[in-house]
């Protein structure tokens, strides 16, 4: 029953995306040329990667609003590392960014796990703290393209088998997540914790620890995206990816991941992110001001959550209540 619903949800979204592409193509055929679609995918890659991490968090009945700030802080740190030690090899940079992101995710996770603070409050707080730290370490200054080493900037753009590395990382992340969610005990635990925390406790799952793991995962992916983002746009400053956390949540909600936890799929998160990415890239093509973007993603969240609710009405409405853990 649940499975068939999930399938149909992805089908609906898939059809919506196809219809959207056809509608654009009817007036601007160049938009659906493979080269352009690859470009759109590459552009959406950061959103896809972050949506996967956010999905794990939302599955466990939490929410992570600090991802964009985490991304920006990690991006700034690796950019500063790069200006100080231009010879640092890329694998080291990647390791640093993933680790740093994971540590920030761990901070969120521990506050939720050990102190039982509602995730929304924790991540609203750490969101501003992480952003503020960027200002403290950078003094509000920008790190521009000429201060970064060539190899640092080249990595996400390097083309491998016809696609940029950034796109490949998104593909690897999606595949990895499909395995993690569908084939491992941790993946099942995410669903169990979100679906029914009390039952999860009785089956021997540590609810807080699982939620903490989801936050670490989300943080690590945000950190990785931080490096990719800064290297791709070749600039780091306090406000990069400002407000991006809302787009990430929007992608998840549009992808049919229930904010009440326990329902959602990797395919849904991917399609939700692609939907937003296509809309974003299509706006300038069909000559609509980019200022429409914010209102469109807001409307998409509302429509999607209303759509989700028709099938998950019994899932409870007071999300803040959901933050309480089974002891």
């Amino acid at each position: 029953m649940t499975l068939s619903f999930l399938k149909s949800r992805e089908l609906v979204l898939g059809v919506a995306i196809l219809a959207l592409l056809l509608a654009i193509a009817s007036r601007f055929p160049a938009f659906i040329e493979p080269a352009n679609l690859a470009k759109v995918f590459n552009d959406t890659a950061p959103l896809i990667i972050l949506a996967l991490g956010q999905m794990a968090v939302i599955l466990t009945r939490c929410i992570d609003l600090s991802v964009a700030a985490n991304l920006a802080l990690t991006g700034m740190v690796v950019a500063m590392l790069n200006t100080l030690y231009p010879g640092l090899p890329i694998p080291v940079i990647l390791m640093v960014s993933i680790l740093l992101g994971a540590v920030m995710g761990l901070a969120n996770g521990l506050l939720v796990w050990k102190l039982d603070i509602p995730p929304i409050v924790v991540t609203l707080g750490t969101m501003t703290v992480y952003r503020g730290i960027i200002f403290l370490i950078s003094d509000g200054a920008w790190i521009n393209a000429h201060e970064m080493s060539e190899s640092f900037k080249a990595f996400p753009r390097a083309v491998f088998l016809g696609l940029p590395v950034l796109s490949w990382i998104a593909i690897v992340a999606v595949t990895g997540f499909a395995v993690l969610i569908g084939r491992t005990a941790l993946g099942r635990a995410f669903y169990a914790v979100g679906g029914n925390p009390h039952a999860a406790v009785y089956t021997g799952i540590n609810v807080g620890q699982t939620q903490c793991a989801a936050f670490v995962l989300s943080g690590a992916l945000a950190g990785l995206t931080g490096y990719l983002w800064v290297a791709r746009y070749a600039v780091a400053y306090v406000d990069i990816a400002g407000g991006f956390e809302l787009e990430v949540v929007a992608a998840c909600v549009i992808g049919g991941i229930s904010i009440a936890g326990g329902i959602g799929s990797v395919g849904g998160a991917l399609l939700g992110a692609l939907f937003l990415g296509i809309v974003k890239n299509a706006l300038p093509v069909i000559n609509i001001s980019p200022f429409w973007q914010l209102a469109i993603s807001g409307s998409a969240i509302i429509v999607a959550v209303a759509f989700n609710a028709t099938s998950t009405r019994s899932k409870g409405r007071v999300i803040l209540k959901k933050a309480e853990h089974a002891q």
Partner: protein, 338 residues
């Protein structure tokens, strides 16, 4: 389904043998603790900067919190009832944009006030209808409307700004009623009393507490839960409209980025004021003191030339700290009792 949920989510509470005396309870209350912090901040500030104790400076300092506090009063009721509204800052943006638009059409001050309040009311009704009508979680709905409302402002304004507000419109944000007492401060004091009476002395206020503690029980005791919640969203919308009028009048211009990030500060103010983020408890006097603390801290940092973003670190830490510290303290007390 929801009955069993209500039982599940309320852990068993230890009931003491007898209540502590009223004086003990008062002394141990969050409000008194907070008042101590407020006094400490005040004293520290007056030592840190010689300019702090000037009456006009203190009067200026009140502008740091009056507009946010107006929203925080309504938000406190909403959070006590177990819901939340993250779209308040975006309602300010939309209401301000609508007022700016009305100015372009030649509207006078009374019309502008009506437009501001009206847009706030409509936005609140929209949130309320989605939450109570369709039964959606308020946190996602208001994250959505947060983008939507500000998004509409961006569509209307883009990178431009509305200016040219009528001269008498400036009174709401810049006017003084008597000596250093600003109109905004009087409005703040009036609303504080009004909301304190509403929450603590009326049937409606009792209903808000009951809903926050046990929505199912509230329903069975004859409280029309959706209607009360809808009213609270309306109230939050209207108060955001009021804040929009004050802020727009004070700045004299509207940009789509107006009041960006205020939802965080408003929620922080409410939580700092001792309102339980999970609903069910909290007081308006607490929120009033929290408003003073936050305003004084912001102002003190300003006098010491601390940049705004560093203050936001402080506010973020404050938000987490005020929730974490009582929990840590309770845990340590429990550990000591064995």
């Amino acid at each position: 389904m929801s009955v069993s949920q209500a039982n599940e989510t309320n852990p068993v509470r230890q009931v003491p043998d007898r209540l502590r005396s009223p004086l003990q309870r008062l002394l141990a209350s969050w409000e008194i603790l907070l008042l101590g912090v407020a006094v400490a901040v005040f004293v520290l500030n007056s030592f840190a900067s010689p300019y702090f104790l000037d009456p006009w400076n203190l009067s200026d300092a009140t502008f740091n919190f009056t507009e946010k506090a107006l929203i925080a009063f309504a938000m406190a009721l909403l959070i006590v009832s177990g819901e939340i509204d993250l779209s308040v800052a975006s309602i300010i943006a939309l209401a301000s944009t609508a007022m700016g638009f009305a100015v372009q059409l030649g509207a006078e001050t009374p019309t502008l006030v009506l437009v501001g309040l009206g847009v706030g009311l409509l936005c609140g009704a929209f949130n309320g209808a989605l939450v109570t009508g369709l039964g959606l979680p308020s946190i996602v709905v208001t994250i959505g409307t947060m983008s939507l409302f500000r998004g509409i402002s961006y569509i209307v304004l883009g990178d431009k700004a509305y200016t040219g507000y009528p001269a008498d419109f400036a009174f709401f944000g810049q006017g003084y009623v008597w000596w250093v007492i600003s109109f905004e401060f009087v409005l703040f004091a009036f609303m504080a009393v009004l909301f304190a009476v509403l929450l603590h002395k009326t049937n409606f206020g009792r209903a808000v507490y009951v809903i926050g503690n046990n929505p199912v029980g509230a329903l069975f005791s004859g409280i029309r839960v959706p209607r009360v919640k809808f009213a609270l969203f309306l109230l939050t919308g209207v108060m955001s409209g009021v804040a929009a009028i004050c802020l727009t009048s004070r700045l004299g211009a509207t940009r789509p980025s107006i009041a960006f990030g205020w939802e965080l500060e408003v929620v922080t103010m409410v939580v700092l004021g001792g309102v339980n983020i999970l609903g069910g408890s909290g007081t308006i006097p607490g929120v009033v003191i929290a408003a003073f603390v936050m305003g004084m801290v912001t102002f003190g940092f300003g006098l010491l030339n601390v940049p705004g973003i560093v203050m936001s670190i402080f506010i973020g830490l404050l938000l987490i700290g005020v929730i974490a510290l009582p929990r840590i303290a309770r845990r340590m007390l429990a550990a000591r009792r064995g």
